[in-house]
């Protein structure tokens, strides 16, 4: 099945479809791997003197786009927000669309790490590190937009409550300020969670390092970790607590982002369904991004036995489920617009589906609701090409969802004389492309130099990791 994709770097083993024909619990790690094998598979990616060719191609592209982002931001800051397409009545344009899009992408990482951890879903171990890194870089990409859209970037620290000569403070009744706190907390907590999970794996890299520089760099970041059980006790408790803290956090962040819209009085924004709808959409888009990145990464870096088809099967089920929640929200918005009987609300939604932005609306519905329906079929859920293409569509669809929410509502405000059609400028488009550059720049560096799979955690889900397994196996063999 996966043979059609590019030839993998790893020649370690062939792929085993562990999603079918199981009598009991399927193995999370395929290919009969030992502890040493797992270390080898993950560490080899970072230790290999050269990366796969595709990595260099992708990295060159990411660097160029990242450079484009810098150029666009420099142009924006030196010239002013007039270089963007925003104007009355669409005063929130691409910046907010991109911000919500990237923050949404950032949700899958913490969801996989924290919520699945609390639910004891052990299959998370293969993909959690990966998804956490994705979260952090997505939040980086998201964070740029609110910073630059304020206009005067150099005084952006005013959004934080810092004692100042003006004796002024931020206004705490504004959801925009809640956003500042939610995003900052989310970024810092995700960073801690990511780094803390990585400490034992960095120690692995330190102990395997051959050059002095690598030894010292990995060694410093490994904090002198020595696998001590007395330390593992505190470590595991702290990790559990972080997971328990990150779970309500991840649900709160996109709820707070949705408050930016929901607490306003604009038809199309002023709805109580927004927080759960945004959270479901964020998980939906985030998981699609994980699949989008994991499919090529496991091929390139030979991680097939750690990120297995079973992982993808699970993730695709989540994508379909959350996609249908999002579809339900779309339908419910229309129902309430009709049932509520508010003419402004009714008009807004009629306009959404049939007005000047109908094309965006139907792209959104097609990509988010119709296309993921292929995941009803197991063949589709375990076919790498199918899931990869669906994940691309879902990402496009989720971007358009934010576009539809922001632009179609604003372009038809209460005063028909000010109605207008919003068109992004080339700066808007290049900034969006550049934000992908930033994301992939960091992500590719991470893939190349960091432990992309949680080595210690994967070892912990192997059957040999539990005391008594030997005796148990021996007894079974006798019987």
């Amino acid at each position: 099945m996966a043979k059609t994709l590019t030839k993998p770097l790893s020649q370690l083993s062939t792929e085993l479809d562990n999603t079918r024909d199981q009598i009991s619990q399927p193995p999370l790690v395929t290919g009969g791997k030992t502890f040493g094998n797992i270390t080898e598979i993950v560490a080899r990616v970072a230790e290999h003197p050269s990366a796969p060719k595709a990595w260099y191609v992708a990295f060159a592209g990411a660097v160029m786009l990242f450079g484009l982002l810098f150029a666009m931001l420099a142009y924006l800051i030196s010239t002013g927000v007039g270089v963007w397409g925003v104007n009355t009545p669409v005063a929130w344009g691409f910046a907010i669309v991109n911000f919500v899009f990237w923050i949404g992408i950032g949700h899958a990482g913490t969801l996989i790490s924290a919520i699945l951890y609390l639910f004891r879903q052990k299959w998370r171990t293969g993909i959690n590190r990966f998804a956490e890194a994705m979260t952090i870089f997505a939040v980086f990409a998201a964070g740029i937009f609110p910073l630059v859209h304020v206009g005067r970037v150099w005084v952006v620290y005013w959004i934080f409550p810092i004692p100042n000569q003006q004796q002024l403070w931020p206004q705490f009744r504004s959801p925009l300020l809640w956003d500042v706190f939610a995003i900052t907390t989310y970024l810092l907590t995700s960073l801690l969670f990511w780094y803390m999970g990585m400490v034992p794996d960095l120690a692995t890299f330190r102990d395997r390092a051959k050059t002095k520089v690598r030894k010292i760099v990995y060694g410093l970041f490994a904090l002198g970790w020595r696998g001590s059980n007395r330390q593992w006790i505190h470590y595991e408790k702290a990790y559990l607590l972080l997971a328990a803290l990150a779970t309500p956090l991840v649900l709160s962040v996109h709820s707070v982002v949705s408050f930016d819209f929901a607490t306003s009085q604009l038809p199309g924004w002023h709805t109580t369904i927004f927080p759960p709808y945004f959270v479901a959409g964020a998980i939906f888009g985030g998981f699609a991004m994980v699949v989008f990145l994991a499919v090529p990464a496991r091929e390139l870096f030979g991680l097939k036995n750690l990120i297995t088809l079973q992982h993808f099967d699970h993730m695709n089920k989540i994508i379909m489920a959350t996609g249908m929640i999002v579809g339900y929200a779309y339908a419910m918005e229309f129902f309430i617009a009709w049932y509520g009987g508010n003419p402004l609300e009714t008009f807004t939604f009629e306009n959404r589906a049939t007005g000047p932005y109908a094309w965006a609306y139907w792209i959104m519905v097609t990509c988010n609701v119709f296309i993921p329906q292929v995941f009803w079929f197991k063949k589709a859920r375990t076919n790498l090409w199918v899931m990869w293409i669906v994940s691309v569509f879902v990402n496009i669809g989720m971007w358009f969802e934010r576009f539809v929410i922001v632009v179609s509502s604003l372009s038809r405000d209460f005063l028909p004389s000010s109605w207008d059609y919003y068109t992004p400028t080339w700066v808007d488009l290049c900034t969006l492309a550049g934000s992908f550059g930033l994301f992939f720049f960091f992500f590719l560096l991470f893939c190349r130099y960091m432990p992309i799979v949680a080595i210690a955690e994967v070892k912990g889900v192997l059957p040999e990791a539990h005391p008594g397994h030997g005796a148990h196996a021996a007894a079974e063999a006798k019987a």
Partner: protein, 200 residues
């Protein structure tokens, strides 16, 4: 498996004139380590530890190690965060303090009250999480006394494999029960594969 196979252990001898830091016994599987840990625990040592590439469940009991109390640090800090969130919003937006360098600023927004707890809940919540998250990470580091870049186990050539697929028991020479001969005899009775003498 491990129980049935006969193990041979390589045992090193201490060198004359060098400072003895402790012993390090290597195991190649979890079961032998767990049984070994039980023996060391019963022998009454205190300054000793097990080292594993991943957390091994049941080893805490085998070592007689106490459960973690990091959660109290986290709870305290989380509560501090909650109160901080409440207090700063009251201080900054709800009241003005005459004659202070650091005073509040009452914004009059759409006729809303200056002090209204529901509007302050999101920030209180986020600060609770933020403070608790910092507490659990830095609390863990503090309790574990990390970062500690120099430790007597790192004087070993073999110890690097602890982050790969080997398991170790280390006993520090600073342990009150430590005795060059007796400790070595005790360790050589376990199902380890290599007994290393750590010296500076």
């Amino acid at each position: 498996m491990s129980q049935t196979e006969a193990k041979t252990m390589t045992i090193e001898e201490p060198t004359e004139g060098r400072k003895l830091l402790g012993y390090l016994l290597e195991f190649d599987n979890v079961d032998d380590l767990t049984h070994g840990a039980e023996k060391v625990r019963d022998a009454g040592y205190s300054n000793w530890d097990c080292h594993t590439p991943f957390p091994v469940h049941g080893l805490d009991h085998a070592m007689g190690a106490k459960p973690s109390h990091v959660q109290w640090i986290v709870l305290a800090c989380g509560f501090t965060g909650l109160l901080t969130g409440l207090f700063i919003q009251w201080w900054m937006n709800a009241v003005v303090h005459q004659g202070n360098v650091v005073t509040g600023y009452q914004y009059f927004i759409s006729g809303k009250p200056f002090w209204s707890v529901p509007a302050n809940i999101p920030v209180m919540f986020e600060l609770t999480i933020l403070f608790s998250a910092f507490a659990s990470f830095f609390g863990m580091l503090g309790v574990n006394r990390l970062p500690q870049y120099n430790h007597f186990t790192m004087y070993s050539e073999r110890f690097g494999q602890v982050t790969d697929d080997k398991f170790f028991i280390s006993i520090s020479s600073e342990d009150p029960k430590f005795d060059v001969g007796k400790t070595r005899d005790m360790l050589s009775g376990l199902k380890g594969t290599y007994l290393e003498v750590l010296e500076d």
